[in-house]
């Protein structure tokens, strides 16, 4: 069918999502990693890894860093004004997060973008990606929550004696930053390799910075062979998911239109089975979803999956869009006879 009418909606639904995301991520990466050089400061409540250790370049600061810092105070301090201040910080984080929901991971996060670049490099070398077995895939889901609880609890335990336990050493004041690959990788993009070190000033520091070095190595190797390797364990994702329900950007599914062909699952970097197999839920932003929208682009059913912003469809799956993206919309070898 030759539809002559041009519409913006049709153009959007037919877009090359891979290319769009590639450029969007580059712009976002530039703003987050180099924005500081042009005076950009989005504050310190960002729901993404805008690394505080990239002190000159960063265009804002990661809230997980801020959160650990805030929690390192005697509990009495939280009664009254400081408590409100803490809640306001958390609220600011939530407001930032609600704009893009998990889209922060799929479109903005510099660590996510780096992993996608590594994936591209692997694809070029024609090395197959690896996958977790479904059972292990299920098991590792809880790791990010454990990390989140630790990063919340450890700073509290430095300033307070919890359950009568002795207070923890100060070296654990930013426990997650110590082991976060972003601390090394992000400043490295501004030419600052000073974070690649092992701190011998105390036992705690030796342990934590060593783990940090190992994590960075794992990050590089892991995300080369496994798409979005780090995101499976990311405590930021866990923290975000707590606030995900009221977010403005959503991934919706109309299960009645789903044939369970599994094309979306194949496209999913996070191997989320529900995207293909759940035909009853409407909101498909699951805990590990990065809202990268690759599933929407890979879905061949009209209106089965859609990205929705405040009730308005902004990008939805269409048969036509699928065919265009898969280059199946025309016969390339028509001149054969």
């Amino acid at each position: 069918m030759t539809k002559n009418k041009f519409s913006l909606r049709r153009a959007v639904n037919n877009m090359n999502l891979v290319r769009f995301r590639f450029w969007f991520q580059i712009v976002a990466f530039a703003l987050i990693v180099y924005g500081g050089y042009i005076g950009l400061d989005l504050g310190d409540k960002l729901p993404t890894f805008a690394c505080v250790f990239n002190s000159e370049g960063t265009g804002g600061k990661c809230y997980v860093g801020e959160l650990q810092h805030d929690l390192k105070h005697p509990l009495e301090g939280f009664v009254g004004f400081a408590g409100y201040a803490f809640l306001i910080s958390l609220g600011m984080f939530a407001v930032w997060f609600w704009v893009l929901n998990k889209g922060w991971c799929g479109f903005v996060c510099p660590l996510g973008t780096m992993q996608d670049w590594l994936t591209m490099a692997r694809e070029k070398t024609k090395i197959r990606y690896s996958e977790y077995s479904w059972a292990n895939r299920g098991k590792i889901k809880s790791i990010k929550y454990i990390l989140l609880i630790l990063l919340l609890l450890l700073p509290v335990m430095i300033a307070n004696s919890v359950f009568g336990l002795p207070k923890l050493p100060n070296g654990l004041s930013m426990p997650f930053c110590d082991i976060c690959p972003g601390r090394m990788m992000i400043p490295a993009f501004t030419g600052d390799f000073n974070q690649f070190y092992i701190d011998f000033s105390s036992k705690t520091d030796i342990v934590m910075t060593t783990i940090g070095m190992i994590m960075t190595g794992l990050f590089l190797v892991g995300s080369f062979i496994k798409k979005r390797f780090f995101c499976y364990f990311c405590p930021m994702a866990a923290l975000q998911y707590v606030f995900s329900k009221p977010a403005l950007l959503k991934l919706y599914k109309d299960g009645s239109k789903c044939t369970k062909c599994g094309d979306c699952y194949r496209a999913c970097d996070m191997d989320i089975l529900e995207i293909a197999d759940d035909v009853t839920s409407k909101n498909l932003v699951t805990e590990d979803c990065t809202l990268c929208l690759k599933c929407v682009a890979a879905c061949p059913e009209d209106g089965c999956l859609e990205a929705n912003f405040m009730g308005a469809t902004i990008f939805e799956s269409t048969k036509e869009g699928f065919l265009v993206r898969m280059a199946m919309d025309q016969n390339k070898e028509n001149h054969a006879h």
Binding site: T259, C261, D263, M326, M328, N331
Partner: protein, 423 residues
């Protein structure tokens, strides 16, 4: 005067009988209905050429027989061979096969076995791949092999939800690709598989365009014609098929603009499901459309199931393309051989809703156990949804025509009444 008398050989008799079956259906398609479609001429001629005149289509090409839809045609095309799907709809062959299989076997399987037993092909497959789908197909492979044909089993799981099944089938497809590649003496490469996937994808997109017209109030194409078009994909040259369907699409577009309706204004719209109608066994579809109903969609493996779901590739490298192809043939499949089959029920409901169907006709071949067994669950689901459904059992024999017509007509009458009451 001395006249030469020759005695007809059994192969000649078989061909004559098959030609009679074929021409009867083709004539009916051509002449029994109003507003014939010009570009359907290609398909009528194609079937006449192959089944009445026994003309080969693929001389000089390797022909790869497939026993079910699960053998990926993308890989066959990539390796420069032609897939020939051997599901057979001829009563003549069914009778030959009947002597070799248990009495209560499925007529489709009997016909396929009969075809091999007589070894009378216009395009004889050089090698046949048999996915282990239903019991009868699975066992038929070994019987066919005993006639001296090369048959290779391709292990197919009977659950599709589990991880084990997914891996098992991916391995099966890989091993199929390796065997075929050896047989062809040709390597499967990134570029030949990529262009085969895109070509088959394009062919599927044309099918989707055709079906889109059937959503219209005035339906510009008959269900039986659609079955013929999809059936041609079993054995036709893919490029010829593509250009014929392109023409058909543009003619239907014209017809849709002109509001041409091949059915009546009040004709009930039928969604057809069950055992596949394969040429020339269009018995039930013909009865339906001769009784003033119109088939607007189907859920069968000779048509919708073959084209509906598409291969999506994330990384266009060989490893991901092969897995994508495998997954499509397993995960998207709504074949009743699977233990659970909610997907098939959901597909039927979705077809009824999106094609504005008035009722469902579920036909099972007598002896096609899996469709017979799934009948109850489908009927229950349709009742829940308030969708009228008729279940009929039939085979390839021409004998029950009167009885079947009465049942179908009665169902269609009741659908018409229902429609009137709604107004």
């Amino acid at each position: 005067m001395h006249t030469e008398h020759t005695i007809e050989t059994s192969a000649e008799r078989q061909n004559r009988h098959k030609a009679m079956e074929a021409i009867a259906v083709l004539n009916s398609l051509k002449e029994d209905f109003k507003s014939p479609i010009r570009s359907m001429g290609y398909f009528y001629d194609l079937f006449e050429k192959v089944y009445c005149h026994h003309q080969p289509l693929h001389e000089g090409k390797a022909k790869i027989g497939t026993m079910c839809i699960q053998i990926p045609s993308e890989i066959i095309y990539a390796l420069d061979a032609v897939p020939i799907r051997l599901c057979n709809g001829f009563y003549t062959d069914d009778e030959i096969g009947g002597d070799l299989l248990p009495q209560k076997s499925c007529p489709l399987v009997k016909a396929t076995v009969g075809w091999f037993a007589s070894d009378n092909f216009s395009d004889k497959p050089d090698i046949t791949f048999s996915p282990t789908t239903c019991d009868q197909k699975t066992k038929a492979g070994a019987i066919i092999e005993s006639f001296g044909h090369t048959v290779i089993d391709v292990g197919f799981p009977r659950t599709k939800e589990s991880e084990e099944s997914c891996h098992y089938w991916r391995e099966s497809v890989k091993s199929f690709a390796v065997k075929l590649s050896k047989f062809q003496g040709k390597k499967l490469t990134r570029s030949n598989l990529e262009s085969a996937i895109k070509k088959v994808g394009y062919a599927q997109s044309l099918y989707h365009k055709l079906t889109e017209f059937r959503k219209n109030k005035a339906v510009p194409i008959l269900g039986v014609d659609m079955f013929l078009v999809t059936n041609a994909f079993f054995f036709d040259k893919i490029d010829e098929w593509i250009s014929a369907v392109e023409k058909l699409v543009s003619e239907l577009e014209q017809r849709a603009n002109d509001g041409v309706n091949v059915a009546g204004k009040a004709s009930p719209r039928i969604v057809y499901t069950g055992s596949p109608p394969i040429f020339p066994n269009y018995k039930i579809p013909l009865i339906i459309e001769q009784s003033d109903a119109i088939i607007v969609a189907d859920e069968t493996c000779s048509s919708n199931r073959m084209f509906n779901d598409m291969v999506a590739v994330d990384e266009w490298n060989l490893y991901d393309m092969i897995d994508s192809v495998s997954d499509k043939y397993l995960k998207a499949c709504t074949c009743p051989i699977f233990t659970q089959n909610d997907d098939r029920i959901r597909r039927i409901i979705q077809l009824v809703r999106s094609y504005n169907g008035d009722g469902v006709i579920y036909q099972a071949f007598a002896g096609c156990q899996v469709y017979e067994m799934e009948q109850r669950s489908v009927l229950a689901a349709m009742e829940r949804e308030g969708i009228p459904i008729l279940y009929i059992e039939s085979d390839y024999s021409p004998s029950q025509h009167g009885q079947l017509t009465t049942r179908v007509e009665a169902f269609i009458e009741s659908l018409k009444n229902r429609k009137r009451m709604k107004k």
